[in-house]
């Protein structure tokens, strides 16, 4: 399943890349090593049984949609555009908490700037 570069340009590019790989520093290699061992530790963990929660999650989602439609049928039409839904998915992803903490920080900075301007 491996590909061999057959053109001088490709060979040059590959050689340049390989050299950058060979020159990775010790700290980076150490982090990679730790990451690998952390990943291998997953072999010892029982698999999470997400499937047990799927029916409950599906019912909860259906109930939520039904409640939204009953509360305000027009709300369905006003629902944010697809791009905003995507934004929400991203915001509610694994890193969202960290990012929201940052937002509070930036908000505080803004307030602090305004106060200093006033003062």
């Amino acid at each position: 399943m491996m590909n061999k570069p057959d053109d001088t340009f490709e060979q040059q590019a590959k050689a340049t890349f390989d050299e950058s790989v060979d020159k990775l520093d010790a700290a980076t290699l150490s982090r990679l090593n730790r990451s690998r061992h952390k990943a291998l530790a997953e072999l010892q963990r029982p698999r999470r049984q997400w499937t047990h929660w799927m029916p409950a999650t599906g019912v909860a989602a259906a109930v939520l949609v039904a409640v939204m439609m009953l509360q305000s049928p027009t709300a369905v039409d006003d629902f944010p555009a697809a791009a905003n839904v995507t934004d929400m998915e991203i915001l509610l992803g694994e890193d969202s908490i960290e990012m929201l903490e940052d937002l509070e920080f930036y908000s505080w900075i803004d307030t602090a700037d305004m106060d200093s301007d006033v003062g």
């Binding site: 399943m1 590019a13 990679l32 990451s35 291998l40 010892q44």
Partner: protein, 211 residues
């Protein structure tokens, strides 16, 4: 992992596997990950221009591969691993786009990708002559910049085929597209890179072709 813990290892299906089999699987996975981790890091780093974030993405990809695909055959691991990694890179870009929109909303200037200093992020030298080191760093900087500027799918096809060495079929699995699409993306990437790099650095990337 010693034998006693290996006995309690479980497979993806949740069923216990024997100690010998668990050890063998762990050894194979360790070997595979050790083989790909450095190239994977550089590929991710070129894709997002941030080494720390790239290290996190590689770790996530390793964990997801082990957690979800450890029972697949050895030959399937590379395309699957890179598919996970490329998804991570794409998600990272999406999060950055959202983050930048929000930063603008708060009146802050989004971080500029061009602030990334490839020379500063370059690894420690390992005993080469300064002139050679500088030349190689410049060549890599030119290549990284040109690859980063490619459209995302062309960048993925180029890095997976050229840097990782996956064939067309493996690249198609990793990118989640057809083999025909891989060929198209790769061909366009090569065409663009050759034009750009020959224009800027003919002594390094183009001069030998005419010989």
């Amino acid at each position: 992992m010693d034998v006693s813990t290996a006995v309690f290892a479980v497979s993806c299906s949740g069923t216990p596997i024997t100690g010998t089999r668990a050890l063998q699987k762990e050894r194979q996975l360790n070997q595979f990950l050790a083989e790909v981790e450095r190239r994977a890091l550089r590929i991710a780093e070129i894709g997002i221009r941030d080494r720390d974030e790239a290290l996190d993405l590689v770790q996530d990809a390793m964990i997801k591969l082990v957690r979800s695909y450890s029972e697949r055959s050895r030959e399937e691991w590379a395309p699957l691993f890179y598919r996970i990694l490329q998804n991570g890179v794409r998600d990272w870009h999406r999060r950055q786009a959202v983050r930048n929109r929000i930063m603008v909303w708060f009146g802050k200037k989004p971080s500029d990708d061009n602030d990334y200093d490839v020379i500063a992020a370059a690894p420690d030298p390992i005993g080469r002559a300064p002139e050679e080191e500088l030349s190689n760093s410049e060549a890599m900087q030119s290549l990284e910049t040109a690859v980063y500027d490619l459209p995302s799918r062309q960048r993925e096809a180029f890095m997976l085929r050229m840097f990782e060495g996956l064939d067309v079929a493996g690249t198609a699995v990793a990118m989640g597209c057809s083999e025909g699409s891989v060929k198209t993306h790769y061909s366009r990437a090569i065409h663009t890179l050759r034009e750009q790099l020959e224009e800027h650095r003919p002594q390094e990337y183009g001069s030998q072709e005419g010989k």
